[in-house]
Subunit: 316 residues, 4 copies
Amino acid sequence: MNFDALRPLLDDICARMAAMPDRGTVASYIPELACIDPARFAMSICLPDGRQISVGDAKVEFSIQSVSKVFTLAIALGRYGDRFWSRVGREPSTHVFNSVQELEAREGIPPNPFVNSGAIATTDSLLVGATPKETLAEIVRFMRQAASDDAIFIDPQVAASEKETGDRNWALAYFLRSCGNLRHDCALTLGTYFHHCALAMTCEQLARAGRFLAGIHPDGNLIAPGHIRSINALMMTCGHYNGSGEFAYRVGVPAKSGVGGGILAVLPNRASIAVWSPGLDRYGNSLLGTQALEILSQDLGLSMFSITPGIGPSRI
Amino acid sequence: MNFDALRPLLDDICARMAAMPDRGTVASYIPELACIDPARFAMSICLPDGRQISVGDAKVEFSIQSVSKVFTLAIALGRYGDRFWSRVGREPSTHVFNSVQELEAREGIPPNPFVNSGAIATTDSLLVGATPKETLAEIVRFMRQAASDDAIFIDPQVAASEKETGDRNWALAYFLRSCGNLRHDCALTLGTYFHHCALAMTCEQLARAGRFLAGIHPDGNLIAPGHIRSINALMMTCGHYNGSGEFAYRVGVPAKSGVGGGILAVLPNRASIAVWSPGLDRYGNSLLGTQALEILSQDLGLSMFSITPGIGPSRI
Amino acid sequence: MNFDALRPLLDDICARMAAMPDRGTVASYIPELACIDPARFAMSICLPDGRQISVGDAKVEFSIQSVSKVFTLAIALGRYGDRFWSRVGREPSTHVFNSVQELEAREGIPPNPFVNSGAIATTDSLLVGATPKETLAEIVRFMRQAASDDAIFIDPQVAASEKETGDRNWALAYFLRSCGNLRHDCALTLGTYFHHCALAMTCEQLARAGRFLAGIHPDGNLIAPGHIRSINALMMTCGHYNGSGEFAYRVGVPAKSGVGGGILAVLPNRASIAVWSPGLDRYGNSLLGTQALEILSQDLGLSMFSITPGIGPSRI
Amino acid sequence: MNFDALRPLLDDICARMAAMPDRGTVASYIPELACIDPARFAMSICLPDGRQISVGDAKVEFSIQSVSKVFTLAIALGRYGDRFWSRVGREPSTHVFNSVQELEAREGIPPNPFVNSGAIATTDSLLVGATPKETLAEIVRFMRQAASDDAIFIDPQVAASEKETGDRNWALAYFLRSCGNLRHDCALTLGTYFHHCALAMTCEQLARAGRFLAGIHPDGNLIAPGHIRSINALMMTCGHYNGSGEFAYRVGVPAKSGVGGGILAVLPNRASIAVWSPGLDRYGNSLLGTQALEILSQDLGLSMFSITPGIGPSRI
């Protein structure tokens, strides 16, 4: 990607998104999130040469919510390796992100680590041998190193807000526990889960935090290359809940969304991208964030599934 | 991919597969397929420079079955463009490949074009304005051009075998019809469907037939680049039925399997690969075919989700 | 039940039903049924003393459709006894009457003999050792004896109408067959099924035909008392598809509905009742037929679940 | 029912049950219940004339568990009448008694008041305007009056045991709450629920407590006759979870089971019956309790679906 050509393209996308009449619906089930201005929009791209380019509200913090699941998975894979997969599956889901139905049909094994049930099980695995405080400290530390920025914090009000209203997540946690797939008290695990979901980050920080998955982190590999490959694969097939097939079709890169309206997208060896627009589509993914990534992907041919014109032998 | 380095690697994979004690289960529900020797194995790779390298029984014909769905989708997208998607979805499935359950839950819209219901609807769309004979002729013609080989035929015995025993497919066709998502008589559509599934091809032919999806076909693009991208995306998220997440995790490239034991894998701009081993895993995908692709992918770093060592700025 | 008191009550119900603005929706998926006048209404009651009382269009023929399933089950139980239950379950269903979903979840064993899948399997069992013609002759013969009326016939136009449009039933038949739970060709079994569903009867005839289930048939028991008990139990828990719980709650007697708008209700030792109103509710049961039975049941205390005032010891 | 003829019959049933090799499996998920002796057996019958006949361990207390749901429903119907049904359905279920799946598919409206989700919602409704203590006092008071026995208590150890291990019930409560179908804190509602499930009663007490549903209570009607009819209907179609159809088929009377191994059966105007055998079948219903009721029903022709020999006109 040519850095200089990116600027006008991002400016254009930003302008088009500002003009969009349908901005989706801001998540209302977490009271603290419900008051976010739906007009917010930001995008930020990190390149292999270390440069970063951003547009819009890229320095405004938002709640990364489920995007944090990428990072907890990274830590869990680092700690447990393949043993981690005894507790969580690797297949896309067909129900809503907080479905208990799919968990019951699978007898307590979440379909993948990116739906709520799977992420709760992941958080639970991180609590083995550590207090919630220590675990959260580890997550924040990892995030800060990933983003090369110590000014990343958990928003306690958002965490508290979800703790009080996250009944569906409590249902998931108790269901996991009834199947023997939760080792700790639901309150302990969910308390930790709600807190890491409440990480507040700017689009710039999030794009930088995702560099390690693109293999372009200044500190080298924060986790084993095999785990990077695993996480990217899961982001491709499961990163947008039951809208993952659609996202792969439209954008064609590994990505993870959060109900705060953020999306982290990864282009191995090429870039990490963060986008933020608070309004959601019916699957719970950022409506304009997806559209912005789709335009960017089409304009730059970023989809992994694209062919580059003029490769074949006939054209030599 | 270095052509000369591929030969010893493929020979090694071929030898390892020959020694595998668990070869999966040969599909028994199509009588003509049940008598295939489970010891068969073949692999063939086409490169951008036009060269092709093969090992094992790469000149032995097998029934490509559901791999044909990639080619009927290509023709349907060429004919209908985005209108095609009014009849078929683009999301992975969580039930078995011939499930009616998922079709009923989605009110007659198949989850994607690669499960049986979706492929039957695709075939049905091709029959608009054409007889089954003309449609099959078009499919065979497309396949021959794709493979640059006129010696590709439909095996009438396999087609007849499935026609007599394919009760579950009849159930799917009638269900589609009851929802208004089948325009023709079930017998007409299924007759055509069973015949294109009964295409007999060698691994060499199949690898060549897949080149257009990798953008390395000698005739240039057989279909629009946008449709290539679409098909590859769907192969990634839906190409292995309810085992698609697992395949993406293990192998990491777009691919489509068939119950004949064949798999066609696509590496955009880099290669098209066909593999054949008749024994299937519990999802109906080739057991050793997947393992062979996994080894190849790991050894050559083919997964789209891998990072290449030494890309990042810290290593400059 | 006092015969003389019934007349004014039935007249009143008939008048109230005539005034009902919401008459439900006449089944449209069988073209021959779609043209029935929704204003039709009839009710007929047979008493133990042999007398019968009727109101409304009780001498007008209608298609009994799924009410015929009671009679095919009676014949099948007579022929196979408990062995019959190896092919069909005895539990209520939670999906629509022609659901394949539930059949797939139960691996080809229909939940009960009164949903379509179960009735198709029942018909299939009757075809063992007999041609469709012989089987239909047996069913008609049974029905005529039950009704003490030789003027009962199958309406060939309705049978043909369903044969052409009954795609969902074909899906069910093929699904059963794919699970090994259909012994004959789908066309053979469904042809027979569509024909017995196309039995044309008047409300008077249907009420008389149901007497054997109430134990008040002039010829004594047409089938073993144990089978009568079984059928009545199934009518109670499964006779109104996924609206069976509601019917038991509101009316409280064993009954079976048909999409032609007929309902046969049984009061063991007391009465058999037929009602007809063509408009259906969302479950596919006669809307006004149910309401008429509810009023009758409440006025006469017919529900099996009612207590009779003044029975207990404190009131002696 | 002839009182004198009952004694030898009950003695015979008791002896046969004592000799049964397969006694089912004692519920293990509530630790306090797991240590119950599976050899226990008791049966008790109350007749309209006020007499009661019992066999076996009829004076030994057991945990009535879900049988209590009949009584909480009685109280709730008395308080809310038809408004109660806005929160709970009236249809049988097809999944296990503590399924969340079915609740999610129905968007938070439990299928009926006798599966766990429905009973939790019922308990929640009783807490409106009352503390848990007051509500439990009301339930115990109702039970004592129903049984004409003040020596009925809640077993605090069983209640505590379930409170600690009832994770699936917590999942159900939180799920209800996430759908807006739980008014109180989960802890408040579940605490009350676990306590009324922990009512300890003898078979003699339970049979007497059920008399009001048969209309043979010495104090007359404890609740409105219409509500008695409603409860009996629901016991018939939903009283044995997803084994309700089977129970209706085999025994043919309204009844409610509990995982403590108790069953309360109601014969309107004729008798109330309690049976106890701790071992459960795969649905969570008492294995031998059902068998004992089946023998009793067959020997005495108790099934509501039976015809009485010699009723019909031909036999006059």
